[in-house]
């Protein structure tokens, strides 16, 4: 690389001054050359990151004007429809931000949209990481940090949109308090300590405020920093492709490419959020009015990321136990605890479960294609379905209204779907993955269908198959098949039972292992799978003579004769 310009003196001097004191030349050179692989799905996490930056910027602005107080005031501000109404200072100051601070409404709406985008991006980023197996060794810790970020984001969002103390968010807080009260043994104490006494009290807004603007953002910032440093240190994963190995990372250097692209991405996201905030109204608290526990509006919905908890509460039958003078409201405790525990707890345990089941303790820097890990992909889709049913049930009244289906019917459908849906999703996804693997194998063996129909001298029509190019081959061949452990009950050469057969856990492990290993369809050369190789051999011959459609040349020819113009 020829570099024929002089670094400006000021820059050089500053750099030199810093290096004299901090010894950075080498480290920062490495940083500038840091490689970032290029793939659209690697930008999903960045969306969350930049949304967070936007949240910090707009949140700082809002905190300059918001008054986190529940003291009663009588409103005499610019929004005349609420003139003379009693309300908390928090609500009044939110009205002031909206109508009396220039840019205040814009900042409020950017802040709210950015929070929604932050959570949405987190969810999609986590799905990408899960379905490509990017959480595998050595990245398990970063996966766990991601789950912690998501959990904190939920609480941060709930507290954030509850701060204005409006009618809608107040109903959400009431639900939150009712749920806390239902926790066995400590519930009433937790609720009373958090709210400073009976609901709603005068303490919850200032308390949520300090948690929302200091405690959780601090934790988020620390965890995001750790997340990025670990990613940086371990280097990014890459997609399977020609020249990509477990031992390298291919891409563009941080300076200037990734820096410029990342910067551009930040501006795009910020710009898109501003567009949303300008043209798509969100959380118009002045329409809801100040909070009172006396009233409520119908079709009250929380922000989308709380939808799963709302749906869980709605789907639940009224189960409650009373014994020895105590009440356990399962109808509240189960929805609050179980679904998120299944999803977030399951996600947290999954990398370790997979390691245990596959016996795979090696490094993975090349991502899996989802089809090549059918059990993982199917489990992921089952979880998505589970989440999706609860999420949709959270809006059952809206669905009932828009689709003209009786409300109770929807709830009953959801009660069935919550069990059946994930099972069906699992089975279907697993089948699709295996089918796609078979297709990959076909293409490796015979090439792909070119769409070119050719007539042979004997009048027969065939479709020409073309071999895959190197890139496509490399992608397909990057597949790794988990090792099959010896089945339970088998013995090694010395007649000693293999560990897998010992105990319940051993047997469970063997079952899980078989599920993982057997769904990875064996490769073209069919190592160890005689039937597959045989099948493959037959098909080889078939390619030259006739397409796979028919056994005899005659009917195949007939069928093809009508097709060629379109086919070619």
């Amino acid at each position: 690389m020829s570099t024929d310009f002089d670094v400006p003196k000021a820059l050089k001097g500053t750099g030199s001054w810093l290096d004299d004191r901090f010894h950075g030349a080498r480290g920062f050179r490495v940083l500038m050359r840091k490689v970032f692989p290029d793939h659209w799905s690697f930008m999903l996490g960045e969306i969350a990151l930049w949304s967070f930056v936007v949240l910090l910027l707009t949140g700082t602005f809002l905190s300059l004007f918001f008054v986190p107080s529940m003291t009663d005031v009588v409103y005499h501000g610019s929004y005349v429809k609420l003139d003379g109404i009693r309300m908390s200072e928090a609500y009044a100051s939110t009205l002031n931000i909206s109508f009396d601070v220039r840019g205040g409404l814009l900042m409020r709406q950017i802040h709210h949209w950015a929070a929604d985008l932050f959570m949405a991006a987190l969810i999609i980023h986590m799905l990408r990481v899960f379905f490509t197996g990017a959480y595998r060794k050595p990245r398990e810790v970063n996966w766990l940090i991601g789950i912690a970020l998501f959990t904190l984001g939920l609480v941060e969002g709930l507290f954030g949109y509850s701060l204005p103390d409006d009618q809608l968010s107040g109903a959400g807080l009431r639900i939150f308090e009712g749920v806390l009260q239902g926790i066995p043994i400590i519930g009433t104490y937790v609720a009373y300590f958090l709210f400073g006494g009976p609901f709603p009290g005068n303490d919850i807004v200032p308390r949520m405020y300090i948690i929302h603007v200091l405690l959780i953002p601090g934790l988020l910032l620390a965890l995001i920093t750790a997340h990025l440093f670990i990613m940086f240190h371990q280097k990014h994963t890459q997609m399977p492709g020609l020249g990509n190995t477990e031992k390298n990372v291919r891409g563009q250097p941080f300076f200037p490419y990734f820096m410029a692209k990342g910067g551009a991405w930040f501006f795009f996201i910020f710009g898109a959020l501003v567009l949303l905030a300008t043209f798509a109204q969100i959380n118009p608290i002045w329409l809801y009015g100040p909070y009172t526990p006396v009233a409520i509006s119908s079709a009250s919905q929380p922000d989308f990321y709380m939808g799963i908890l709302e749906g869980s509460l709605r789907i639940m039958p009224a189960w409650e136990w009373n014994f020895l003078g105590h009440t356990i409201p399962f109808g509240v405790a189960i929805p609050f605890i179980v679904p998120l525990t299944i999803i977030l707890g399951g996600a947290a345990l999954w990398p370790f479960f997979e390691q245990w089941a596959t016996g795979d303790k090696s490094w993975h820097n090349i991502n899996d294609r989802p089809r090549n890990a059918p059990i993982r992909t199917a489990t992921g889709m089952a979880a998505v379905t589970f989440y999706g049913v609860l999420w949709a049930e959270g809006a059952n009244d809206v669905i009932a209204d828009k689709l003209q289906i009786p409300l109770y019917t929807i709830t009953w459908i959801a009660r069935v779907l919550i069990f059946v849906g994930p099972a069906v999703a699992f089975i279907v996804t697993r089948r699709i993955c295996i089918g796609l693997q078979r297709k990959d194998r076909e293409e490796l063996l015979h090439g792909y269908e070119s769409g070119i129909i050719r007539q042979l001298p004997n009048g027969q029509f065939i479709e020409v198959h073309k071999p895959l190019n190197e890139e496509a081959r490399a992608v397909i061949e990057a597949k790794k098949v988990p090792a099959l452990m010896p089945p339970p009950g088998s013995e090694d050469a010395n007649g000693v039972p293999v560990p897998a057969s010992r105990g319940l856990l051993g047997r469970a492990k063997a079952v899980a292992n078989r599920a993982f290993a057997e769904t990875a369809v064996l490769e073209a050369d069919g190592h160890g799978d005689g039937q597959a190789a045989e099948e493959a051999g037959e098909e080889h011959e078939a390619v030259g003579s006739s397409p796979a459609s028919g056994p005899g040349p005659q009917p195949a020819g007939d069928a093809a004769e009508q097709e060629p113009p379109e086919g070619g």
Binding site: D38, S78, F99, D100, R102, G103, G104, L106, R174, G178, V179, Q181, G182, T188, Y192, F193, G196, P198, P200, Q234, K235, N248, R250, A264, F266, F268, G271, L275, T278, T292, P293, V294, A295, I296, S298, A299, E310, L313, R314, M316, A318, E320, G325, T327, I328, P329, G331, V332, R369, P370, D397, Y408, T411, E443, Y448, S450, K466, L468, N469, E471
Partner: protein, 375 residues
């Protein structure tokens, strides 16, 4: 385009299509074609993108950097980038102008200000982003590099040395040898670990029995929510209607209202059939607490405490809009559907000497959501 599009022949191996989850087959501008990437840029944002597409980059594959076509392409890209940044400057100035020039303080003015501020800010940000994107894609040369990954696990020697150093340090510290020091240290820190939890004690009062009681007491008048006027049975005589009631003296006390709010429903003669029911030995529901086919139930849902605000006249169903618990008002607010575990408590009611509806007593059971001590 001509150099790039290789004639389709049966011999040329080609990928069937891009495999999802793989990098795009074509590398970047000065390495190969730039056409597809331009499409992306155009898709990413508005007007300038269209302009960009018009610029129509010819194929630059394999051309030396001093080829006139490459130079022309770079020149065009440079101008577009500069145009984007200039536009960002103008839009940014527009933002400041909108802030200075447009006031707020009314709904209409706020709307205008929001529109002007938001549009100018969005345009400034998006054109900065677009400019940077075109810059990186069309001006910077292709520079893919391959970095080796190094084993994250330290080599054995380092691990052993670490272990030795750690052991030596531990030995010098006497931590293992002197259990008395070790244990008393742990003992010494224990209270300090508990201290932060103890410090949280004054966050709130203990619940005590406060969840069991509301502010209703014998003789306290039922006031209509909104007007805060007392009501007589004769005034509330339209069968099938429901109104919200707040207790006299607490009309602005949200803490009190969160538990004591009541709904009042008027029935036609004979429709109201409240069975006499007990919880243990406590009477919780009876026709005796109604007045003139008017019944009062707690408005606080027994599920998680939302106000049960919807009433369907023909079926006598009370519906909670939060989680759709449904209660039959005619039979003592028994649960028909949804997650609520028990009927809405009935407020014992009578009329005072002036003929106004008043409470006979407080509710005879806790209102609102379940809690551990409820029993």
């Amino acid at each position: 385009m001509s150099d790039m599009e290789q004639p389709e022949g049966p011999e040329v191996p080609a990928a069937p299509h891009r495999v999802i989850g793989t990098p795009p087959p074509a590398p970047r501008l000065l390495g190969s074609t730039a056409v597809a990437e331009q499409g992306d840029a155009a898709g990413a944002a508005g007007e300038a993108g269209e302009e960009e597409e018009e610029a129509g980059v010819p194929v630059l594959h394999g051309l030396p950097p001093d080829d006139p076509r490459v130079i022309l392409h770079a020149k065009r890209a440079e101008r577009i980038v500069a145009a984007c940044f200039t536009f960002a400057f103008i839009a940014g100035c527009g933002f400041i102008a909108a802030y200075v020039g447009l006031g707020v303080h009314t709904v209409d003015k706020t709307l205008r200000s929001n529109l002007a501020l938001g549009t100018s800010l969005a345009l400034a940000l998006l054109s900065l982003g677009l400019g940077a994107l075109i810059w990186v894609r069309h001006l910077m040369p292709d520079a893919e590099i391959v970095e080796e990954r190094h084993d994250l696990r330290s080599d054995e020697k380092d691990r052993q040395e670490f272990e030795a150093t750690f052991k030596q340090g531990t030995e010098y510290s006497q931590f293992v040898k002197r259990p008395l020091v070790r244990r008393t240290l742990m003992l010494g820190t224990l209270p300090l670990i508990a201290a932060p939890i103890v410090l949280l004690r004054d966050l709130g009062p203990l619940p005590g029995t406060s969840l069991r009681h509301t502010v209703w007491s014998p003789g306290r008048r039922l006031l209509v929510y909104g007007t805060n006027q007392p009501v007589t049975p004769a005034q509330f005589n339209s069968p099938g209607s429901m109104i919200t009631i707040v207790p006299e003296g607490y009309t602005d006390d949200l803490d009190a209202l969160a538990k004591a709010t009541v709904i009042l429903i008027k029935f036609r003669p004979g429709e109201l059939q409240i069975p006499t029911s007990y919880a243990g030995s406590t009477l919780i529901g009876t026709m005796n607490w109604t007045v003139d086919n008017i019944v009062a139930y707690s408005k606080i849902c027994t599920h998680v405490g939302c106000p049960v605000a919807l009433y369907e006249e023909t079926t006598h169903h009370i519906l909670c809009p939060c989680h759709q618990s449904t209660f039959d008002a005619a039979t003592g607010a028994t649960v028909i559907f949804g997650p609520a575990p028990r009927p809405l408590p009935q407020l014992p009611m009578t009329v005072d000497s002036s003929g106004y509806l008043v409470a006979r007593s407080d509710f005879t059971q806790p209102v609102g959501p379940s809690f551990w001590e409820r029993g």
